[in-house]
């Protein structure tokens, strides 16, 4: 099923003309915005209309740090009055990144998601339970608006509170859920244990926000007798709806009329041909409030060189194979080790060394931090140490929104850091 068949099956040549036109519109608006133009000035890039997409590779990359530097609204190319929403993601240095949307942007983003949902056979007959976090996190509101646009009944359940989730799934005959893979594993275990499956109407689970393996998909599909659909997005590119699987379930279609997609060599930054793995670089070329060109996602993937059997001409990207930086994802939340370091190093009682350990408890991700205490500030009291532990737990939870387990260890007991220390140990594969 198609939401917008002419656009979804657009021929290659027409798509390129449309892309070039949209990129040039974006460049024109950027050039007219002093705060944004100065970014390109600082990169010694003179903005002028491109005559072919070939010239995209000459455009400087935009990084998360660049977005942060533009805080709070340096990259906004419309009047603030036209903005109807902002989304923000937590920063690694305390400064968040902010993405603005006009009414048209929200409408457009919703349509892209409606396209995704239509593509996997959803319709206005479906009951859609959105089990993602609402708020600043784009996964919640993004799919919410898209599913409403499609005409499905939306249950804005949000994440967590499993008992209530199960009650809704059962009582409202939910057919489609949007959920993180780790939470899906948890919920599916409960459904299996209580033998609830026969009373349910579930047929599709949309999964994104954190990486998961093909084995996890098969396990969930078998356990719940549903289709699991892979979804990819990032707040800088709106959020979900950037790339989405069709029912072929091999690779995610990138909506190329809205996103210019490149895979580049991680070292040289030069674009790689389709089929080769490298860093995914995306451009939001159809956003009124805040176009972003050549954004380095730090996600590793490749583009499928061949056409998809589903009939859509938009190319597909692979599952995300990994990251080029040290970001990790736990329980659907993106975390940089530097965020944890920032919190720890502000506390004088904390020594110089720490290590972050990721593991699984059942099917849920668990984050522990082993921290060396500072011998100079050891007061000899259990009370102070317990207080320190509580303080660290609270401050970390405020920063990363995840409840960590804190272990205080003796100075010198952790492997010493040498240059870029391995501060994250991921045992999740081993403990599952």
């Amino acid at each position: 099923m198609f939401w917008d068949k002419p656009l979804e099956t657009i021929d290659c040549r027409s798509l390129q003309i449309l892309q070039l036109d949209r990129i040039n519109t974006a460049l024109e608006r950027i050039a007219a915005t002093p705060g944004y133009k100065s970014f390109y000035d600082s990169k010694k890039y003179k903005i002028k209309p491109l005559s072919s997409l070939e010239q995209m590779k000459d455009l400087p990359f935009t990084t998360k740090q660049d977005l942060r530097n533009s805080y709070p609204s340096g990259f906004l190319v419309t009047d603030m009055e036209k903005v109807v929403r902002m989304h923000s993601s937590s920063g690694t240095t305390g400064i968040p990144t902010v993405i603005y949307h006009t009414k048209n942007d929200i409408d457009n983003w919703s349509s892209l998601i409606a396209r995704c949902l239509c593509m996997i056979g959803m319709s206005d007959k479906d009951v859609f339970q959105n089990m993602m976090t609402y708020g600043m996190f784009t996964g919640g509101l993004g799919l919410h608006y898209g599913a409403e646009k499609l005409g499905a009944m939306v249950i804005p359940a949000g994440a967590g509170n499993t008992e209530r989730q199960l009650k809704f799934i059962k009582d409202f005959k939910t057919t489609v859920v949007h959920i993180t893979p780790s939470y899906a594993l948890h919920v599916s275990e409960i459904i299996e244990q209580r033998n609830l499956l026969d009373g349910l109407s579930l047929r599709i689970a949309l999964m994104g926000a954190e990486p998961y393996t093909e084995a996890t998909r098969l396990k969930l599909e078998e356990r719940l007798r549903i289709d699991v659909i892979n979804s990819y997005g990032l707040s800088e590119m709106n959020g979900p709806g950037v790339a989405f699987e069709c029912l072929e379930k091999e690779g995610m279609h990138v909506w190329e009329d809205n996103y210019y997609v490149e895979i580049v060599d991680t070292k040289t930054g030069m674009p790689l041909p389709d089929g080769e793995e490298g860093e995914l670089v995306l451009s939001a070329i159809n956003r009124e409030a805040m176009p972003i060109l050549r954004y380095r996602t730090h996600d590793l993937a490749f583009i499928y060189p061949e056409r998809c059997a589903c009939g859509r001409t938009h190319r597909k990207i692979s599952r995300i194979k990994g990251r080029t930086d040290d970001m990790f994802i736990i329980g659907g939340v993106n975390i940089f080790p530097s965020q944890i370091e920032e919190v720890l190093m502000k506390l004088p009682q904390v020594g110089s060394n720490y290590v972050i350990i990721l593991s699984k408890k059942g099917s849920l991700d668990k984050l522990s931090v082993r921290i060396e205490v500072n011998p100079d500030l050891f007061a000899g009291d259990l009370r102070h140490l317990t207080q320190l532990k509580e303080t660290i737990t609270r401050k970390l939870r405020e920063e990363i929104l995840i409840n960590p387990t804190i272990e205080l260890v003796e100075p010198g007991s952790l492997p010493p850091s040498q240059g870029k220390a391995v501060r994250v140990i991921d045992n999740r594969d081993k403990t599952v």
Binding site: V373, P375, F378, G380, D381, L382, R383, L385, V409, E410
Partner: protein
Amino acid sequence: MKVQQLSIFLENKLGRLLETTEVLAQHDINIRAMSLAETKNFGIVRLIVENTSRACDLLRMHNFTVEITEVIAVEVNDTPGELARVLRTLHENELNVEYAYAFVERKQNKAVVIIRMDQIDRAIGVLKAEGIKTLTQQELYL
């Protein structure tokens, strides 16, 4: 009189307490009293030794996290009701005990209670007024 106690931070790791005592043994330092407080993944061992500052230096040299804590050592007769008398005295003076541990002095048939609390000086004063003796570091080793 005030007495010095060693407080050693130990993570919950196999053999760590043993290592502590071995450092002291190698340097011929006798342990008079010991108490171990533990939480889920770390603990604090408290020791009364004769030469506290030397023991502290030695342990630090062996990379232990050590601090010297001031406590009081109260001497009482090893008979029923004696500890209660000490605690009642402190209670009546609104002095709160953080932690305590005790050992028996066989030679003189006395018991010694090590008490950690705030306002140590005031505590020593009110105990003295009740005729309760607090020991010096040297007296602990007589």
